[in-house]
Symmetry: C2
Subunit: 287 residues, 2 copies
């Protein structure tokens, strides 16, 4: 896992502009937002799924970088004052605190299109499959995926949200991009329909487990462990798995989702070993 985290860090460092036509503030903001932090869960899932579907290194690198870029852009925008108004992220000041709101807005915008550039810039990858990956990643990021989930989240602040609605919100807000991280290697590999369905099922369980654990940690961890401001959900009267189920039942639910993810992988045999490790990691992570 540490090797994969270091690898996507190197890949992103090499891809992100250090020179170019844009002002230094934008380039520095992009690098600040992306490099040097985070669990890189989406990259880890992409590398594990790439190993499972036998995607070569360069394809895995492009996918891992693209999903981390989309994730980084969403964090920059979600942290802005008009959204969650968060001052800390990954143990350091958020982008708008460090660079100002206008630059943060542009940094997020630029990271988003950079993800699609990264998916299509490597001429050694099959271009038709790259187009399919763009389609899948764009859908995962859009109105029926991440951005739509964030809009539901915003609309629910302070209001009641029953468990099915909470689950639907999380499947869009975080689940869609996690599913794309696992699905894109299958697309690039041209994996058969059964394998792709298996990967999607696994990813849906892991994505929801991740969010349930996130909710529990927000309610129980301290800032040093979390790297961001804890207790924000309760402060915002935001419905979460922790608030709706209680800490104990939410924790049991996360373990149940892990077991379902592991069961889903069975048909893939040993080549899914790293995906299985990640399902275990998601529910055992300290932050």
């Amino acid at each position: 896992m540490r090797a994969c985290q270091a690898r996507v860090e190197r890949v992103l460092d090499a891809l992100l502009p250090a020179h170019g036509a844009a002002p230094a503030s934008l380039r520095d903001g992009m690098r600040y937002a992306v490099l040097g932090g985070g669990k890189r869960l989406r990259a880890l899932l992409a590398y594990a799924a790439a190993e499972c579907t036998q995607v070569p290194t360069r394809g895995a690198d492009a996918i891992a970088a693209a999903v981390e870029l989309i994730h980084a852009y969403s964090l920059v925008h979600d942290d802005m004052p008009c959204m969650d108004d968060d001052a800390m992220r990954r143990g350091k000041p958020t982008v708008h605190v460090q660079f100002g709101e206008a630059t943060a807005l542009l940094v997020g915008d630029t990271l988003q299109c950079f993800a699609f550039e990264v998916l299509t810039a490597d001429a050694t990858l099959d271009p038709a499959r790259c187009a399919q990956m763009v389609l899948a990643l764009a859908r995962a990021s859009g109105a029926d995926g991440m951005a739509g989930g964030q809009a539901i989240d915003l609309a629910s602040l302070g209001g009641p949200l029953d468990l099915p609605a909470l689950e639907r919100m999380h499947r869009m807000k975080t689940g869609a991009l996690i599913t794309a991280s696992v699905a894109l290697p299958g697309v690039l590999a041209g994996a058969d329909a059964d394998t792709r369905t298996t990967l999607d099922t696994y990813a849906a369980h892991v994505g929801l487990a991740f969010q349930v654990v996130d909710d529990v940690l927000d309610a129980t961890a301290d800032q040093a462990t979390l790297g961001k401001t804890p207790g924000k959900d309760a402060q915002n009267a935001k419905p979460t798995y922790a608030s709706e189920l209680g800490i104990d039942a939410a924790t049991r639910f996360a373990f149940d989702l892990r077991d379902r993810a592991l069961a889903a992988l069975a048909p893939l045999g040993p080549r899914a070993a790293r995906l299985a490790d990640l399902a275990r990691f998601v529910v055992a992570r300290p932050s």
Copy 2:
């Protein structure tokens, strides 16, 4: 021209979600931001370049919609309080005034990835060329294109900017997307290198002419004609072609750029007639 404007409006109306998983505020905001307004210059250029390079209807529609979606997203974000803080756009309240800042941020984010979805969702188009179009549009939108130009614009507020720096800023901020609007049909058609270079040269002149005219109109037109708040540039002490050259010399410069755009088209003969019409339109437009 009216027929093309009506056509891209129909295409966008059919593409934009009216139902779906996202909350109504996001879907309504997307439609509000995109439909019912604007000159559709980028769509007109895309249709004219598609006619010139013999791209079939569906390909032209996808390109025209994608470039208008990128343009619409950039307007939503540029109008936000942390950027230009504009209350009026296309004769109606801006998206953040109508829907709130958080929704405006998400609307812009969603429109951006929707552009890449639209470029890759039509299974009748050559997928390898779709991937090339994604790459070109992503680069035109990013740090070395539109977003980079906007960052230079922000950094220059109130400060001096000499003419070469002003030109470079505009070639990135508006020129890159205008160039992409003309270039993408050539990519999808698989046009030869000479044709693509010709189209790029034409687009560079037209893009800059458009911006020079925009600067002149901001200094001379009223709100009813402009559809947005006039005089913002002077109010923000923003360097423009109008402020740097004066109205008369800026107007002459725009006509000179038009003539260079027309001269560039010569090798393409009559199939470039509509592109030539658009070069004339850009410098003659009332708003």
